[in-house]
Symmetry: C2
Subunit: 200 residues, 2 copies
Amino acid sequence: MSGFVEFWFDFSSPYGYFASHKVDVAVAKAGRSTIWKPFMLGAAFKVTGARPFMDVPLKGDYCVHDWARLGRYYRVPWVQPDPFPVATLGAARVFYWLDNEDPGVAKAFAKAIYHAYFGEGRNISLPEVVVDVAAGVNVNPQRVEDVIASPQWKQRLMEASAEAVSRGVFGSPFFIVDGEGFWGADRLPMVAEWLERDGW
Amino acid sequence: MSGFVEFWFDFSSPYGYFASHKVDVAVAKAGRSTIWKPFMLGAAFKVTGARPFMDVPLKGDYCVHDWARLGRYYRVPWVQPDPFPVATLGAARVFYWLDNEDPGVAKAFAKAIYHAYFGEGRNISLPEVVVDVAAGVNVNPQRVEDVIASPQWKQRLMEASAEAVSRGVFGSPFFIVDGEGFWGADRLPMVAEWLERDGW
C-alpha cells in the first residue's frame, strides 16, 4: 500500500496540538507523508451532539489536568489558553489558501498557529493575531486579511469540514490511513504500527 | 512511591475488556499490583451527560470497526455482542462479593464474565449466565443467585459507582495511579511509563 496519511485536526484542539508535534516524524519513519487537514470540529459536534470537553462535568477537569501532563510528557510548550476553546475559522481559511500554493508553508503556518495558542496563550480567533502569526512565517499580511474575509476560502473550509463528517471524522485529531480511521493522539503509535505492518 | 493501581471498568465496556487483558502484566512489570473495580458507567454518564458510544452518530460506526480491529491487534477473542450494551449489575455485585473473600477469585470471575460477553457473545445481563460463568470458576451457584438479589451487594456496587464519580472516573477503563487518573485503554503504556519514571 502507499499513499498519504491524513491528519485531521481543529486549531482549537489540545490533542490535535500534541499530535501535530509527532505525526510527521511517526509517519515519515514508515516511509509515508502526511496531509494536514484542519476542519471545524463544531461541524462534527453538530452531528454527534458532543460538547467541548471543558463543558463536560468530570471530563473537563480531567482534560485540563491531562493537557498540562501531556505537555510535560511530550516536552512541548503548554499554557491553558483563555478564552478556550475559540473559533478558528480565520486560521483554517488561511491554511487552505497557503496549502493551495505550498503545503510546506501551510504546515509551517499551522505549527505557528498552534504554538501561538497552546504554547503562548495568544487568542488565535482574532484576525490580527492570525495576520501576525502568518507574518512570522513570511506570509504577506494584507493577503492574509483578505483571505480571512474571502468567500472563496470560507467555502473551502466549509467543504473540508463537510468532507470530514462525510468520512466519519468526529473528533480531533483523527488520522486516516488507507481508508482506516484512527481517533485520538493516543493512537499515533498504532497508526505507525499499521503502516509498518501494512494493517492487520 | 508505592501502592496499587486501580483499574476501574464497566463489564459492558469493550475498551475495558481489551484493557483487562493487559493491565495486570503492564503493572506487574513496574513492580505493582492492580485492584479491579467494576462500576456502573451509567452512573458517570448521568453526571457527564454522555451516551453509549453506539448511540452517537459517526462515533458508533467508528467504535464497532475499532473494536474488531483491536481484537485482532491484541489477539484476543472478539464478537460484537447483541444486545449491547447491557446492564451488568448482577455480575458486578457478584464481583464485589467475591472480592471481599478472595480478590484472586474475583479477578478470575471478572475475566470469565468479560470473555463470556465479548469473546462469546453471551448475554451477561441474565442472572443464569452470571451463575453459569461463576460456576466455571468454581463458585457456588446458589450463593451467586443470592448475591445478585442481595441488598447488601446492591449497596456495595452503588457505593463503588458513587466512589468512581466522586474521584473523577467518567469513562471505562480508567486507571488511577498515585492519585493520577488516566482514561482509556490507549493510555495503558503511559500508565506503565508513569510507574517506571515515578511520574513526570
